[in-house]
């Protein structure tokens, strides 16, 4: 059944499978419960059973049915927890550390993409920043893409339906999430946390290129923007960090 969007990443299938696993348990529980609800309605209706029995339910003989059901529920809960923890562990707790790094920064109401300069790191002086409406982030296929997620103003949420990934971005902290696309194409990157008036229009794209196309794209990008190589002198670093202490003008403008 194709009730999910097309899955294009290494872990999207896992999340879908997790859904079907839970769905199996839930469907069984649902069917049993509905039978347990409907059957007595017919069997013990006023017509079919004019006199009720006196059952308080405190006796072991009667209460055992609930105990059995709860033990079964606890067991399926346990299975669900074990399986889902594997997926959680893979996606959130032990993300890979090697791969292409990109920066995604939420502003009202657009996603700003940051490609690393020649040093391969984000948030350094040689970054290439793309801040256009409906812009596209190019990433290579079959490679770990490490996304550094930040926000400039309010809380946004990076939502990649095809990758089954959702992550809030908060001002003041960096969240690192990863994704590994298995299929080339153009996918949506949506903001799914309400972020103001034009929240509904906050949508950009991730374009997954083959390795060759991606290399060519990066080469073009470097030529066009000509990122300055990073100056590593200690003095520069010191002034950088000093400047960093002063908050940007707009974040305090309200005050």
């Amino acid at each position: 059944m194709n009730i999910f969007p097309e899955n294009v990443t290494t872990y999207a299938g896992e999340i879908d499978n997790l859904f079907w696993l839970i769905f199996t348990f839930v469907a069984i529980a649902f069917v049993i419960s509905v039978i347990a609800l409907i059957y007595p309605m017919i069997r013990y209706s006023n017509k079919n059973s004019p006199k009720a029995e006196y059952i308080t339910g405190e006796k072991k003989k009667h209460f055992k049915w609930i105990t059995i059901a709860l033990v079964l529920l606890a067991m399926s809960d346990f299975v669900i927890l074990v399986v889902e923890h594997g997926t959680w562990d893979k996606i959130e707790m032990n993300p890979p550390t090697d791969g292409v790094r990109v920066g995604i920064t939420g502003i009202q109401w657009n996603w700003v993409f940051t490609y690393p300069g020649p040093d391969g790191k984000i948030n350094t002086s040689d970054d290439i920043v793309i801040n256009e409406m409906e812009s596209e982030l190019h990433v290579p296929v079959n490679t770990n893409v490490i996304m550094e997620l930040r926000s400039r103003d309010v809380i946004h949420n990076v939502f990649l339906p095809n990758a089954r990934l959702k992550q809030d971005v908060l001002p003041g902290r960096t969240n690192i999430r990863w994704v590994n696309f298995t299929k080339e194409g153009k996918y949506e990157l949506i903001c799914s946390q309400i972020c103001g008036v034009l929240h509904s229009k906050m949508r950009n794209f991730i374009v997954v290129d083959s390795k060759e196309k991606y290399d060519a794209f990066m080469k073009d990008l470097y030529e066009k923007h000509n990122p300055k190589p990073k100056v590593d002198s200690p003095a520069k670093v010191a002034t950088d960090s000093l400047q960093a202490k002063v908050p940007s003008a707009d974040s305090t403008a309200k005050k």
Partner: protein
Amino acid sequence: MSNSSTTVDIRQTPQGRLGMWILIAGELIIFGGLIACYLLNRIRYPEWGMEAVHTSTFFGALNTAVLLLSSFTIVLAHTAANNMKPRKAQMYMMLTIIGGLLFLVNKSIEYSREISEGLTFSSPKLVASGKEVGSLFWSFYYIMTGLHALHVVVGMTVIFIIMLQIRKGNNLHRVELAGMYWHMVDLIWIFLFPLLYIAK
């Protein structure tokens, strides 16, 4: 069927005290939530120690002593009320209110000193010197002490109203309830004192 006098009396604690305890538990959680937020940030920013230096331990200690003494007087008012001495209870309640006023006077002297030093929650001085994290300390300082001062005012009002009510010797059990609220105000301060004035 029974007669009415015994039926409503199945109780362990008089209902006023019971209600008061629940209210106090609720208030403790409100303040506790604020204190928890402060502590979480205090642990996060060790540099707040530099800001806490500016609070005046002397005034803080003085205020603690004032509140402890006023707690003492209100509890004496409660004893007097128990002994059916409304005049004496009123006197002790008056002393408690004076204690509260003294507390507020101290507090306002403290505030004016700090504000004149430019230590406010949106202090341009702190922000300009790159110590905007320090201004968060002052935000917490003012909100915690301010909310507490508000409770002092409420407590004083309640004590004053009840002081008027017991004039004719009825409603004497309410003295204890007002006292409990006042003690709660006191014990919140007991915890705020080391938090803001001593731990530097």
